[in-house]
């Protein structure tokens, strides 16, 4: 029974590797790489479910009866191209973040945001005290 | 064993495929064992091109239909063009960035420092 399910386990392992990379690394490029690995593992999941034993590629031919299921192929074809499109937008965002913050490490971005936040609250407090004085 | 033309063609095709696989493996061993970037690239460039060629010839002999053979011939031509060009591009990029090959000194010792910080080298 276990040997029949090994393809799902491979998918789960890849998925967890991608998940770990996204949550454990601070560098934005590595997060995008982790998302790519996660995406590809989902593709492998669907495609391995579509395979029929002793079937061939889903192109009609004389003499073959058993074909692999074409429906997941269609869904994954769409998914691959949409994945590359979103990766491109993600990378564009990374470039702009680098230009705005000077670094693509999550901790640096977080600390810069905290500084800006503190500066804003200090400004707000000083305005409140000034209006109270006058 | 009947020595008709079919068996001979199959034997030649199997021979070509085996030679191609062996060349691929030896190219892989070359990447791991050679000491320098340039020697590694030489190993891979030469053996991978020949290996791809042999495998394609083997595949052509396996199924000698006209359309399949024409497509495989085109793939072979493209590979023969692209593989050496890619090796050339890699070597050019390496020289441009300052990585020098390990050469012998006048006394016969190997040079120690083979990274040269040059801005724009003439390549």
């Amino acid at each position: 029974m276990l040997m029949g399910l090994y393809n799902y386990w491979v998918v789960v392992v890849l998925m967890m590797i991608g998940f770990y990379i996204v949550i454990a690394h601070g560098n934005l490029i590595k997060k995008i790489v982790g998302l790519t690995i996660f995406q590809t593992s989902v593709f492998i999941f669907y495609i391995s479910m579509a395979k029929v034993k002793d079937g061939t590629a889903p192109i009609l031919e004389q003499g073959t009866e058993l074909y692999s299921n074409p429906l997941p192929h269609v869904l994954i074809l769409t998914a691959i191209v949409v994945g590359i499109a979103t990766t491109a937008v993600g990378l564009a965002l990374t470039v702009r973040i680098k230009e705005a913050y000077g670094s693509i490490e999550e901790s640096d971005i977080q600390s810069q945001d905290n500084l800006i936040q503190e500066a804003h609250t200090q400004d707000a407090q000083s305005q409140v005290t000034r209006s109270q004085v006058t | 064993m009947a020595f008709d033309i079919d068996t001979i063609v199959e034997l030649i095709s199997a021979f070509c495929l085996l030679i191609g696989s062996f060349l691929c493996i030896s190219g892989g061993v070359g990447i791991l064992r050679f000491p320098d970037f340039y020697t590694r690239m030489h190993a891979v460039g030469v053996t991978d091109t020949l290996a791809a060629g042999m495998i394609l010839v083997g595949l052509m002999l396996q199924n000698p239909e006209a359309l399949v053979v024409i497509k495989l011939v085109m793939i072979l031509l493209m590979t023969l063009f692209i593989n050496p060009t890619a090796s050339h591009a890699l070597a050019k990029a390496a020289i441009h960035n300052g990585l020098l090959p390990i050469l012998d000194d006048k006394e016969g010792n190997k040079t120690e420092n083979n990274y040269q910080e040059s801005g724009s080298s003439n390549c």
Binding site: V12, K30, T87 | -
Partner: protein, 315 residues
Amino acid sequence: MKDLFAVAMLVGIYGLLSASFFVAMDAVDVAFTEASVGAGISTLLMFVVITMTGRSEDPVRHKPLLALIVVVITGGLLIYGTLDMPYFGAADAPIHQHVAPRYINDSMQEVGVINLVTSVLASYRAFDTFGEVVVIFTAGIGVLALLSVVRRRDDDELIDSVNDSMHEQHLILRIVTKMLIPFILLFSLYVQFHGDFGPGGGFQAGVIFASAIFLYTLLFGLSTARRVINQSLIRLIAAIGVLLYGCVGVVSLLNGGNFLDYNVLSSDPIAGQHLGILLIEWGVGCTVASVMMIIFFNFAGRQEEQQQAKEKEKS
């Protein structure tokens, strides 16, 4: 692994390996797309971004133990969930029962193309493909909004002098590229129109066309490539691709059928299907090729702008 350059290369190799896995799983169309997109375009884009954002990452400062625990727990739950799934390759799995036999058995009579994936993609599920084309177009607009740079017109003489001096340096590469690019473009057209009979179709053709233009840009410089390929024309073609797709659907509506129902496009339903599939694959190919070119040109233009700003600071 601290070097992002090596990480990007490994992602490319991973894409190629998964493409060969897809071939082993009889998914030839998917393998084609994954090889061209995952092993080609995504690696290239990552390299361009790494050029702009820095090559190595900072050392990790916090301990990732909590992340590891979460991952292991989630993995365990998922593996427990897969114990009920059907076996690998079983022909009686529920996935093969309901819609797929109809596609496999009736596709030849209803649609008339022998590539089942194309018939499902372009005819049975054409609406999903329409959504996908719009998503690609939106991604192109997103990258345009984020990264486009307003340039002043480059001097033609300056470009020509730079071109001549570079020509000597990259002689072999340029000559081989000049010989190869027509074949790559021809191959992309072949893939586009052969999607009915073998693996192929609009997506792969668009990506291959765009990669030929990338090759040209890499070797001949961004300014020359901008003169060859007009940027506004590319944006127009991207919009025209989506519009063509939508128009086919609207024409079907006007002829009395449903949206994207190809049977009413011509007197004979099968001819109508063929016409509809041809037109929408053409629309998909146009949009994908031009959006890939838009994305690449904007990334490269931004990088060029950053380099020019750095040189101005130094001088």
